[in-house]
Each structure stands twice: as structure tokens, then as C-alpha cells.
């Protein structure tokens, strides 16, 4: 990507009177030397893969470790049970179910779209698929929102990191949430500044999130962290649309994420040596997995 910052992208939006998504699209065309049609077609294929992954969730599947599976089904049953009136309401609950389902599909070796990583693959589809199905049946608009999301992810990757091993979970779920917040803000009619603001607020809220996977697997707590990434993205998009701004500029927020990641102990960066992975139960699970593999 030729942009190093939100500031540069926003400047381009203003000087050439272009929308955020178009600036990112044109950058992709220049970088990969492809036409607008080719780039758009690639995005359409990516969106189709996301839709297909969401539609083919299997609620009876468990991961090979047995740690995750079925929660996306439970959440969906809860939405339709009407025994208790849910706090978040049907729309938000549908997004929560989508995040759980995609995270579980990933853990169960089904086909997903890494966005920006496989561990965080639930966030973007969890906000986009229900939006497409219940609010805006316009594929082109969704594709443009995906350019917004990808642009935000590229800026984060350039300034900081999208790898849990490098920056902890804030770099994975934090980045996914930031991308999703920007995409939602665009879909809701927000301008370039509001998009950047939503992305900044989403990352701020997840700063410091550690990567502490039990037994080193992309399962616990990864699947449920996709839910916080999703709900956080929605609330930040709404705040941005309400005219709330970030006191710390977006680029400085992403720089802070890098600083926090650099300072994070390696035991909290995907090594399974700290946090939830080192709880009594976490270690018990890891030990059990280890011995069962020795036996086969």
C-alpha cells in the first residue's frame, strides 16, 4: 500500500473529492497493476466466499480438540426462543451468532476468509452479512464497505501489526474490529472522517488485549473474542455517526497499539505461556491434549 497513514488517505479524499473506498480501490489497482473491474471481481469473489462460509455453518460440529462447537447454534436458538427477552435485541444477537459461527467454522477446519487473520475471521462477516440480509440488499455497497475495511487493515498492518505473535490479540481482534467499525460507518452514510474516527475508537477500546490461546489453539478464547470485536465495531460506528470524535487521532491510536504490543510480554503473544492458557484449567486441557496425541 502506498499510504502510511489515515491522514494521507483522508487528504487524498479531500484534495481529489473521492470517497474512502475509491482511494483504496485505486491504490490496489496501482499496486497490483490491475483494472478496476479485476479488482472489483476479486472483491466480489471474496464476499461470495464470506457469504458461503456464513451459510454453511454446521451447529453439530466440534473442533478436533472438542473445545469449541455448537455455541453459534445455541445463540441462534436463543434469539428465536423468546423465553427471555434478550438485552441486545434480535439484530445485534444475530451479529453475535454470526461471529460465534464463523469462529467455530474456522476451528472446525471449514473454509473461511481471513480478515485480517483466520483467528479474527468472524468479525467482519458478523457485521456485514446481517447488514446485507436485513438492511441493504446492495452487493456493490457491501463491496465498497469491504474496500474501506481492507484499507483500514492495510494502514494498521503498515503502522503496527496484524499478527497475534507480534502484537497480541489487539492486533488481530482489535484490527478486525477497527476494520468492521469503518465499514459499518461507511454503510450508514458516514464521511471519511467518521470512518477513521470509528476505526480509531474501536482500536482504542481493545488496546492491551493479550493473545493467550489455551493449548495454543485458535479456539479458546478466540471464538468468543470475535463477539467482542463485533459488538465493539457496532457501538463505535454508532458513536461516530452520532458525531462523537476520538480525542487521540487515528494514526496515533495505531502507533499506541504497536507500542503496547512491543511492551507486551512474549508469554502473552500467542505462545500459550500466559493468561488463560496458564490457568489451572487451561493447563489441564493442554496436558490432556498433549497426552492424547502421544498415544495415537
Amino acid at each position: 500500500m502506498s499510504y502510511q497513514s489515515f491522514e494521507q488517505v483522508l487528504q487524498k479524499c479531500h484534495t481529489e473529492e473521492k470517497e474512502f473506498w475509491r482511494v483504496i480501490l485505486e491504490d490496489d489497482m496501482a499496486e497490483r497493476n490491475v483494472s478496476e473491474e479485476d479488482s472489483m471481481e476479486h472483491m466480489r469473489v471474496t464476499w461470495d466466499a464470506m457469504l458461503l462460509a456464513a451459510a454453511t455453518y454446521e451447529g453439530n460440529l466440534n473442533s478436533s480438540s472438542g473445545l469449541v462447537g455448537g455455541d453459534g447454534r445455541r445463540m441462534e436458538e436463543y434469539i428465536h426462543s423468546a423465553v427471555t427477552e434478550s438485552l441486545c435485541g434480535e439484530y445485534v444477537d444475530t451479529c453475535i451468532a454470526g461471529a460465534l459461527q464463523m469462529g467455530e467454522s474456522n476451528a472446525c477446519m471449514k473454509r473461511i476468509v481471513a480478515a485480517p487473520t483466520a483467528g479474527a475471521c468472524g468479525v467482519l462477516p458478523a457485521v456485514l452479512v446481517p447488514y446485507f440480509q436485513k438492511r441493504c440488499k446492495d452487493t456493490d455497497k457491501i463491496l465498497k464497505a469491504m474496500y474501506v475495511a481492507a484499507g483500514i487493515g492495510q494502514i494498521i498492518a503498515t503502522r503496527s501489526s496484524i499478527s497475534g505473535a507480534a502484537g497480541g490479540c489487539q492486533a488481530e481482534i482489535g484490527s478486525a474490529s477497527s476494520m468492521a467499525a469503518g465499514a459499518l460507518t461507511y454503510l450508514q452514510g458516514g464521511n471519511c472522517e467518521q470512518i477513521a474516527t470509528a476505526a480509531a475508537m474501536a482500536m482504542k477500546n481493545l488496546l492491551g488485549l493479550v493473545c493467550d490461546p489455551v493449548a495454543g489453539l485458535v479456539e479458546v478464547p478466540c471464538v468468543k473474542r470475535n463477539v467482542i470485536g463485533t459488538v465493539n465495531a457496532m457501538s463505535c460506528a454508532d458513536m461516530a455517526m452520532a458525531g462523537i470524535t476520538s480525542r487521540i487521532p487515528p494514526d496515533q491510536v495505531m502507533d499506541a497499539m504497536k507500542e503496547v504490543g512491543d511492551k507486551m510480554d512474549t508469554s502473552l503473544r500467542e505462545t500459550a505461556l500466559g493468561g488463560l492458557a496458564r490457568t489451572e484449567e487451561g493447563m489441564k486441557i493442554a496436558e490432556k491434549m498433549h497426552s492424547s496425541h502421544k498415544n495415537c
Binding site: K110, A114, A118, A149, L217
Partner: protein
């Protein structure tokens, strides 16, 4: 990172490094063998050894050896598919010196008797790096057309290969030279911007002092 490194790859889960990258390691290794894999002895190092099984790294490597891409939904069933086509494989763990944490060593033999040993690392986001070929250190990603020439370490072979490429209008992107010892066994790894014509590869193969030529172009 380009845009579709951020939104993508489309892949079978759960991990881009432990699953998608592992499929690609298998896939590229099979291309380097230039034969259908009959036997595979696979050694897992570092994080591949400790958390590989839970991430399906083993199934992913075998899927790649069967010619599958990282988004192939048959990856979880690769062991059964390997059995069906008569591919034998074993897994064990190993501790390598100075290797990337996500590294696998694949000792392969093919249907037509070809053999190769590949050491490769999954370096994140599904991308890989080939670190050793038949014990000799190399360093390439297989993302560009790549020509690998094994030759006797004597004067003239680099000139033969580079002038052939110039004649065919193929631009060299990178050129790396490696050898085990002076006058011994040498390897040239050349990444190119254009495809290398098949007849040029065949011409190289029959030259005196050239032991083996491998050409792969897997961009699709």
C-alpha cells in the same frame, strides 16, 4: 501487504500459518519433486511440532502434497485421500538449529523414483519460505516463476543459464548461488519476471555438469 493479504486468503481454518501455510509447503514441495508423491517422511519443528496437530498442520501438509490449495474443503480428509492414491507418510518431531518456529522438513520420493528433501517455513499469512533443498541452504518464496539449477561447482554454468534467459527475453528478478564446498555441488535459484520456456529448461538439463533442473511457476 496488498489488499487481498488483508481480506484473505480464502482458506480452510484454523490458522493461516499452521494450516494455510502448511498446505502451501506441501504443494510447493510436490512441485519441486516434479512427480506424484509415493512416500513422505515429514519432520515437524518448533510450533509446528507442539501445536501442529491441533491446527491440522499434519492434514494440511498431506493435502498440499496431494496438490490441494489452501482453500480446498477436502483438506480435513486428506489422510483418507492419500491412502486411496497409495501415498505413504509418517510424521515425527525434530529440533532444528536456527530454523523458523513454523518449520517442516519433507523427505519425498515419487512414483518415478525422484527424491527430494525440502525444508520450509510458514512465515505468516499463509506465505512460505523454502529454506533448504537437499540439505543446501536456499531462500525463496515460490511466489514468482523460479528456476533451480543443481550443477557441479565449476566455471561457466551461471553464464550459461543467464545468457539463455537473456536470449529468451526473460528478466531475472533475483539470483542466488549456493554450494556445499568448492568444486562440489552447487545450486542456483533464479526468480524471474516472465515464464521460462519449457524447451529452455530441457536444453539446460542436457548440458555437461548440470545435475538437475527444476522449474516451478505456481501463480494462478
Amino acid at each position: 501487504m496488498n489488499l487481498f493479504d488483508i481480506l484473505g486468503p480464502v482458506m480452510v481454518g484454523p490458522s493461516s500459518s499452521h494450516t494455510a501455510g502448511a498446505v502451501r509447503i506441501g504443494y510447493i514441495s510436490e512441485k519441486l519433486l516434479q512427480d506424484h508423491v509415493r512416500k513422505a517422511e515429514i519432520l515437524l519443528h518448533g510450533s509446528f511440532a507442539t501445536t501442529g496437530i491441533g491446527h491440522g498442520t499434519d492434514k494440511a501438509l498431506i493435502a498440499g502434497l496431494l496438490g490441494m490449495h489452501p482453500d480446498d474443503i477436502r483438506i480435513p480428509a486428506s489422510f483418507d485421500l492419500a491412502k486411496k492414491v497409495g501415498m505413504e507418510f509418517t510424521f515425527s518431531t525434530v529440533t532444528l538449529k536456527d530454523a523458523h518456529p513454523n518449520t517442516a522438513v519433507l523427505r519425498l520420493s515419487g512414483e518415478h523414483g525422484r527424491k527430494i528433501e525440502v525444508q520450509a517455513a510458514s512465515i505468516g499469512g499463509g506465505r512460505i519460505l523454502i529454506a533448504k533443498l537437499d540439505g543446501i541452504e536456499v531462500n525463496f518464496t515460490a511466489e514468482k516463476p523460479t528456476l533451480i539449477v543443481h550443477n557441479v561447482d565449476q566455471p561457466g554454468h551461471v553464464a550459461q543459464v543467464t545468457s539463455m534467459l537473456a536470449e529468451r527475453n526473460v528478466n531475472i528478478a533475483t539470483l542466488q548461488l549456493y554450494r556445499d564446498k568448492r568444486g562440489g555441488y552447487a545450486v542456483m535459484v533464479i526468480e524471474t519476471d516472465q515464464e521460462v520456456p519449457q524447451d529452455s529448461v530441457e536444453w539446460l538439463e542436457q548440458l555437461n555438469g548440470i545435475i538437475k533442473v527444476t522449474y516451478i511457476n505456481v501463480e494462478d
